[in-house]
């Protein structure tokens, strides 16, 4: 009734190809952004910002990066945490060593460093694919974390490679409170999210999808495989790198190479799977799910066991968390292999014909 595109005629190519072709979508996105930029800062508490909203946004960005590589270009990667680490340490070094560098530029340069490393470790994708490639990306994961720990230069010779973010400001505003960190993160994520959405429907995105669906066929119709695959690695690592820089500067403040473990890579992969492989929106759903699940389980499990009168240690809770986590992954893959984004799409289809289903 409300969600119907009838009567919205496209009279120019520009109108036909816009990012959100349906008017209701444009309104919804606009409202969402207004809500996130103006209403949320006014009502959310400190805890909400630093424990839920900021990590959610940052991991959405990382998941977006992996989704570009795995979902759009079809190259499975288990090394996203390594690229985040490169971004974090890259941004740290740019701010440390280049005087007067704007923080945003440093974040982006961190992303560029990650893109460089991504291209390097993406080179094998020209020869191998599937599981072989997944294992090859593990090389990036272990090598990067080792290098960042071993070579003191990256962390300015601090003990065990820990870096602490310097104070920084953006356009004259000192980013020192959770609200400001949230707003900065939100701006970056919103812009990069729109860019990704745009990229996905452009020439680049369509070549990625062609390579994903069948690379030999894509090559036959004239898509340069090397350029396309390496570009996917570069863009994906860039997104992960910026997310890593944000982890260091807006989320944790102090971070060590060991934060970016294989486990984190898996979590990001799960965000992509649960959210929906090959959808921009899915990255956000997936990140929300994975960030909220442990908090939710913590809130639910403790009272549940208290009611049952069983004493449980926090170790058991974290193990149950693992089990629920693993179980949910399997459940999702079995029930809805296309993820939460698919459920959202089904809901939209329903809404379109509501209240007259025929």
């Amino acid at each position: 009734m409300f969600y119907r595109e009838t009567g919205q005629f496209k009279t120019s190519y520009g109108a036909d190809q816009q990012i959100f072709p349906i008017r209701q979508d444009r309104i919804a996105i606009g409202l969402l952004l207004v809500f996130a930029f103006f209403v949320v800062p006014a009502v959310a508490t400190q805890y909400w910002f630093s424990a839920i909203l900021i990590p959610f946004l940052i991991f959405s960005l990382a998941a977006l990066g992996l989704n570009i590589l795995t979902g759009y270009a079809g190259q499975l990667s288990l090394g996203s945490a390594a690229f985040m680490a490169v971004g974090a340490f890259g941004a740290y070094n740019f701010i440390l060593r280049v005087p007067e560098i704007p923080a945003i530029l440093a974040f982006l340069m961190g992303g560029v460093c990650a893109a460089g490393v991504g291209i390097l470790f993406g080179l094998p994708s020209l020869r191998i694919k599937g599981f072989y490639l997944a294992v090859a990306t593990l090389a990036a994961q272990f090598f990067v974390v080792w290098a960042l720990t071993k070579f003191g230069w990256f962390s300015n010779y601090s003990s065990s490679g820990v870096i602490s973010s310097q104070d920084f400001s953006v356009f004259g505003f000192a980013i020192d409170s959770p609200v400001r960190k949230y707003l900065l993160t939100l701006s970056i994520v919103a812009i990069m999210g729109l860019l990704a959405k745009n990229m996905a429907r452009s020439n680049t995105g369509r070549s990625w999808m062609a390579v994903r669906d069948m690379d030999v066929a894509a090559e036959v119709i004239g898509i340069p495989l090397m350029k396309t695959k390496l570009l996917a690695f570069a863009v994906s690592s860039f997104y992960c790198g910026v997310a890593g820089a944000l982890v260091a500067y807006c989320y944790l403040g102090t971070v060590e190479p060991d934060y970016f473990t294989l486990d984190l890579s898996f979590r990001i992969l799960f965000m992509v799977i649960i959210g929906g492989v090959g959808t921009i929106l899915g990255s956000f759903f997936g990140a929300a799910f994975i960030v909220l699940l442990p908090i939710f389980l913590n809130i639910v499990l403790h009272p549940l066991f208290a009611i049952l009168g069983i004493e449980i240690s926090s170790a058991v809770v974290s193990n149950m968390e693992l089990m629920v986590f693993g179980g949910l992954i399997i459940f999702f893959l079995a029930v809805e292999p296309h993820g939460l984004a698919r459920l959202w799409q089904i809901g939209k289809e329903k809404l379109r014909i509501w209240p007259f289903p025929h």
Binding site: V135, A136, A139, M214, F325, G327, L333
Partner: protein, 297 residues
């Protein structure tokens, strides 16, 4: 020179352990086309279960049997709950499901048996063999040699099982072509249950030996990850490849750690196998013994 050979032999013997884990991957991949990421978690689970049963005061052979039964149950349950609903999904989906399974099994193992390290005492001594020490001036652990012998026997038994039993023939048929096997009346789901149990058995042997060496601890799951470069080197579908790959990875990683490591600050054991496998892939993408893959449009 004696030192070089000592490192080499030590590496080869630890490579045998990697081979054992890799063997579990290969078995499942051959039979069902599933890249079972949970093999490492299964090794951990098996080691903890075995150690846990021994701690209850059960003698070793019985404990082994008990742990085997548990692993069979886990294998059959995996087939029922994870694989059956995912039939006909792309391989990548199945792979991700096994990552989920990894988390589940790791959590389960720690809830059931606790997260602390458990010692496993098999009654094999971890001492240098005097004869070799005297005559060749090299330290070769008797435990490592025993482990290698056990691994050799295991491979021989598996080979015989695949070659000469009815179930083995069915397994090979399924590995060759699912649909053809199904059409001549081989019950696919039974076969998958069996193959997961066999993989569980291999995981149990690997977990037992690793556990006796380093204690049954969470770090086992990371060690099991080392089986992945082994697979790349040897090829995903070859039992022989798993063995040879394991030996190559084990020896080169130890040699690199001892001879190259000091130049860059040590600790390169962690990533060296992966980088080695990476360069290897650039030359021979299908692995040493893997099947050559031909793309058709």
């Amino acid at each position: 020179m004696a030192f070089f050979f000592e490192v080499l032999i030590g590496g080869l013997l630890s490579g045998v352990m990697y081979s054992l884990v890799a063997l579990g991957f290969v078995l499942i991949y051959k039979a069902s086309g599933v890249f079972n990421f949970a093999q490492g978690a299964m090794v951990y689970f098996a080691a903890l279960t075995f150690a846990g049963i021994i701690d209850m005061g059960v003698p070793i052979p019985l404990a082994f049997l008990g742990a085997f039964v548990v692993m069979i149950a886990l294998g059959v349950a995996t087939e029922r709950i994870v694989l059956r609903p995912l039939v006909n999904q792309p391989q990548i989906t199945l792979f991700m499901a096994t990552i989920g399974l990894t988390f589940f099994v790791e959590g389960l193992a720690q809830i059931a048996w606790g997260a602390s390290t458990r010692r496993i005492d098999l009654g094999i001594q971890d001492e240098p063999i005097p004869w070799i020490l005297d005559n060749m001036n090299m330290v070769v652990s008797s435990f490592d040699l025993t482990a290698a012998a056990i691994a050799g026997v295991l491979v021989a038994v598996l080979a015989a099982f695949f070659q000469y039993t009815k179930i083995g023939r069915a397994l090979r048929a399924v590995a060759d072509d699912h649909q053809a096997a199904l059409s001549i009346g081989i019950p696919l789901q039974h076969i998958w249950g069996i193959i997961w149990s066999v993989a569980g058995f291999v995981a149990l042997v690997a977990g037992m030996l690793w556990g006796a060496r380093n204690g049954a601890q969470f770090a086992l799951t990371f060690v099991a990850l080392k089986a992945l470069p082994v697979l790349i080197l040897g090829g995903f579908t070859s039992v022989l490849g798993a063995i040879v790959g394991g030996l190559i990875i084990g020896s080169t990683e130890k040699l690199a750690e001892v001879f190259i490591g000091p130049m860059v600050g040590g600790g390169i054991e962690n990533w060296f196998p992966y980088v080695l496998a990476l360069f290897f892939l650039l030359v021979r993408p299908e692995g040493l013994f893997g099947e050559k893959h031909i793309d058709r449009v």
